[in-house]
Symmetry: C2
């Protein structure tokens, strides 16, 4: 019976285990998870604080007990400290019992995930938290309830920071958002993101830009601007790093940033070692360029690919990622896909900017959508897309993802026969019009 | 200067005229429209009755005056009575002045549209209306206001009937819906459409199935069931027929039902005669089979194709249609695309049925979506899709339209990298899961 060891039991690891068991009822599966919990909905954590996820336990998809019923062995509080790829063993630390042992595998699946970054000023600050796990959620909730928290500081204006700010506001907590630059939500083009700070202010959030927390003393935080702010609770959302230090003595290949390199089968540089989830480097789907996308869609897809590889169906491959992403920010939807803005310089391209109502313009509740495409001059390939609006943004970004995946160009968007009825679209939809604009632009360039 | 005559000035005709002028500032364009108005948003008419389109004039995209500013001549109340393709002339009746004349063209564009069907029992009934034009809208509104209408009968449970019922309810009018069979909204699979009658009843609509109006006497209508109902206003929405009788003495090819046959350039059997809009027969995009789709998307696309053909860019083609459609019905969204149910028998296929929440299941406001695909056994091609739910249906049908257009199969849906965040989707989206189900089904069939 081949023995599979999975390092990490959250999204990537748990999904791979479940999928593998589904395909192969007999294979021997053991998960080592350093934390307390497995298989919880990471992305849903902020929404329990805001109340949109009513019960905490709704976030839990599987437990060690439910996995055991499917003959999947889960060891929580077990940290994998190293991999000996030559001997096909991992070195495991049983944290609660403070002992270390080696475990043998035939196939190893690495799903160590990422660790939230933390700033030095918040080391050892008891009211400073991150929200990266169910344990963190429990800590934050307990702190809010025990301390009667009515004010909080959110550090970071990225997606975690914005989701935290929104959910704290929904909970009735007065928020101060501290962001180190002027540019909140870096995934979005700077000239498209101005509404975010406006909305934060409209929601009563005190926004401190170009500021960092320098020091915390009691319930007071001092910013690099000199200002002192009330900080009875601080939640930092300033990014993540892959949790791959345990691989440093192995010869499993990682990139400069520590992400584990995998091929289209999810395989590392070792035939029988796979990796999935936040800690992997894969490649873009639409251009030949490496990328790391710490998002759930890719983890779920890769879990499927790896479980098929291991169980013998080698035909299933990972196509790479567009990095399609979206966040809801109060009434706004913000979505992007494709290359990051900073990567665009390497590709001669033009920009299509288009604003149109999300439904027939004569409908009383029609609302504007703004689409920006970065289009390769050479062939019309859509290199990057950004879509913002307050309704129907998710539709447009998903259509773009489906279209790009099958080789559709910007010009080709004119041909997508969307479902038209006044409550949903115009007869020439937002994306159709983007396509017509791309045709005009391309025609001009070719003259 | 080539002379273009356009028969019909509503969606297809007006859009073609505008597009042609945009491409070619010099070409000579004349529109003959038998009705009073041109270029109004047909699909928006019911929503003005319900109040979602606040001002009637918002429905008007262009007028004869605004077209004249762009050097497009519009003759309303002018009915084209015949076409002499040999002599390149049309016979025109100036209705208000009761005179007839011939007009010459170099290119002729037929956009006569469709006429609403009417049942004999409603002939000469003063309070019986259809809603197919702005004139009809004005008549209905005047009748509601002048007669203080508080009750109305809607005849027909197709999309016009359902939209009318909803909008009358929104206006506070008590509705009786009379439908001749048990099966309302025929575009949708019968076993998926049960909620429609439930919702009608929940909205206070009195639903009379298996019934037709047999006779109207004063404000009372007698049904074929013998029942008498209050009918101070009757709106019939029982389908349309192509308005192509004027072609019967020409040799312009039409199909058995009177739809004008066109090729991928929008051309009829005459090199210089094109047709667009409700009255054409085109072909499906995804299977080789003729179809007529009286919807706005195709009219707008064909307007673009024809105007490019005439102005010399022969590379632009019409790809055929999926018939992607959607209606909003109170809180429900109902969408389909592809073959009609009755056409499926000709294609060996299997069915994928899938129900899943529209967003992460732990979100308090997540709502179920039901997707049904009819998939060709041979190659996994999606022959037909139906999607119903109360949120996010339009997204799924549009993604399907984009996917099918570029040759994506049912199995392939697993690979679409949708934008995931708990308020929008699950990590494995509704369509991804449909894809995984199709893979399993296909694997079983091939064993």
């Amino acid at each position: 019976m081949p023995k599979v060891i999975i390092v990490g039991g959250v999204a990537g690891g748990a999904t791979t285990a479940a999928q593998l068991r589904r395909i192969d009822p007999d294979i021997d599966i053991t998960i080592y998870e350093m934390g307390r919990d497995i298989s919880y909905g990471n992305c849903g954590l902020p929404y329990h604080i805001g109340g949109e996820v009513a019960e905490r336990d709704q976030l839990i998809a599987a437990t060690p007990e439910s996995f055991l019923e499917r003959d999947i062995i889960v060891n929580t509080h077990h940290e994998v400290m190293g991999v000996d790829a030559g001997r096909n063993t991992v070195q495991v630390k049983d944290i609660l019992n403070d002992r270390t042992f080696d475990a043998e595998y035939d196939h190893l699946i690495l799903s160590p995930g990422s660790a939230p970054r933390i700033i030095p000023a918040l080391f050892d600050v008891p009211q400073a938290f991150v929200l990266h796990s169910l344990e963190h959620l429990d800590e934050i909730k307990a702190h809010i309830e025990n301390e009667g928290i009515e004010r909080a500081v959110v550090v970071g204006g990225g997606y975690i920071g914005l989701e935290m700010a929104e959910n704290l506001v929904h909970r009735g907590i007065k928020v101060t958002l501290v962001h180190r630059s002027e540019e909140v939500y870096p995934p979005l083009e700077r000239d498209m993101s101005g509404f975010i700070v406006d909305e934060l202010k409209a929601q009563g959030v005190d926004v401190k830009l170009n500021a960092e927390i320098m020091e915390v003393d009691g319930d007071t935080a001092t910013l690099t601007t000199g200002e002192e702010i009330d900080a009875p609770m601080i939640i930092a959302g300033i990014g993540i790093t892959p949790r791959t230090d345990f691989l440093k003595d192995s010869d499993i290949a990682t990139n400069d940033l520590g992400y584990i390199c995998v091929d289209q089968y999810g395989r590392t540089n070792h035939e029988n070692i796979y990796a999935v989830g936040d800690a992997i480097e894969t490649s873009y789907q639409h251009v030949d360029r490496p990328v790391n996308v710490a998002l759930a869609w890719g983890a779920h897809r890769m879990a499927y690919v790896i479980s098929n590889q291991i169980s013998g169906d080698r035909s299933v491959q990972f196509e790479g990622l567009l990095g399609t992403n979206i966040i809801r920010f109060f009434d706004h939807d913000i979505a992007t896909l494709g290359l990051e803005v900073s990567e665009l310089d390497d590709y001669p391209h033009f920009v299509i900017d288009h604003k149109q109502k999300n439904k027939a313009g004569y409908m009383a509740d029609s609302l504007p959508i703004h689409v920006r495409l970065h289009v390769a001059q050479e062939d019309g390939k859509i290199l990057r897309a950004a879509v913002v609006g307050t309704e129907g943004v998710d539709k447009r970004i998903d259509v773009l993802a489906a279209h790009i995946r099958l080789g559709g160009t910007a010009m080709d968007l004119a041909n997508i026969e969307v479902a038209y009825s006044p409550p949903y679209s115009s007869p020439k939809s937002v994306l159709n019009m983007v396509g017509y604009k791309a045709i005009e632009k391309m025609n001009k360039l070719q003259k």
